[in-house]
């Protein structure tokens, strides 16, 4: 693997993790008695930027290296299901994340006054954030398993 590809892989993991951290920060903030809506907007916006950047960097690594060099190694090994089940699911579910976080940012941006008063909206927004962070964590765990399956 070239240094450029390694950089893109590390950037993909780092940015994805950063997105998870921003979403967890959002989830912890939304239930505060005096929620700071400026920070909710900032956290949701930074999570969106992180996932878009992770999408691009991971996409470059996946389309230019993974399919040619990593996938055949996993498929020949003892844990071929790791590619055919986990990687296939991961690469497609990842596509949900930018749209989920964009919606989270939009809800926070457009409804911040109502978000303070409307408990139903607060709960629904927290549910959206929880779904996004759960999907991102599952994708991260799948990534760890995929890395572990190489050469086994």
């Amino acid at each position: 693997m070239t240094n450029t590809l390694l950089f893109f892989l590390v950037a993909h993991i780092f940015l994805g993790t950063l997105g998870i951290i921003f979403l967890i920060a959002y989830l912890l903030s939304i239930f505060k008695k005096e929620a700071d809506f400026k920070w909710l907007k900032i956290n949701s916006f930074l999570a969106l930027l992180s996932f878009i950047a992770s999408w691009i960097t991971g996409g470059y690594y996946y389309t230019s290296y993974y399919g040619k060099s990593v996938k055949p190694v996993i498929l020949k090994g003892e844990f071929s299901w790791v590619h055919s089940v986990l990687m296939e699911t991961k690469e497609h579910v990842f596509l949900f994340l930018p749209f989920l976080t964009l919606t989270l940012f939009a809800v926070t941006y457009f409804t911040h006054q109502d978000l303070k008063k409307d408990k139903k909206l607060t709960l629904a927004t927290a549910g959206l954030c929880f779904t996004a962070v759960s999907a991102a964590l599952a994708i991260m765990l799948m990534g760890i398993v995929i890395s572990g399956a190489v050469g086994k």
């Binding site: 996409g59 389309t63 055919s84 296939e88 596509l95 989920l100 139903k120 549910g127």
Partner: protein
């Protein structure tokens, strides 16, 4: 505020539609080799094709849903529908690839 509500409803509905389209593109691509081949040939990689198509679906559907003016549905209900669709779609894709691998 009414206008903001219309924009927000359009964004949430577009996100729901986009996730459904991603699932359909993925399942159709696996079941129809010709379709997956077309995605690869047109966009250099099937995954890039799915990324571009899903982004286009989102960008086109936001103004369409905005014009349709569906602000009567409450934002909280729309968000819960998005949550349900996202979780269901995750389960559908995982189950689909599991079944494709073992059966």
């Amino acid at each position: 505020m009414q206008d903001k509500q219309s924009i927000l409803s359009a964004i949430i509905l577009s996100a729901i539609l986009t996730i459904v389209v991603i699932v359909l593109l993925t399942v159709c691509g696996e079941l129809d080799a010709g379709f997956k081949g077309w995605l690869t040939k047109t966009f250099s990689h099937h995954w890039i094709g799915k990324s571009i198509i899903s982004t286009l679906v989102f960008l086109v559907s936001v103004p369409v849903f905005y014009v349709l003016n569906l602000k009567k549905i409450s934002t909280a209900v729309l968000v819960w529908i998005l949550v349900a669709i996202a979780n269901l779609s995750f389960g559908v894709l995982l189950a689909f690839f599991f079944l494709e691998t073992y059966f």
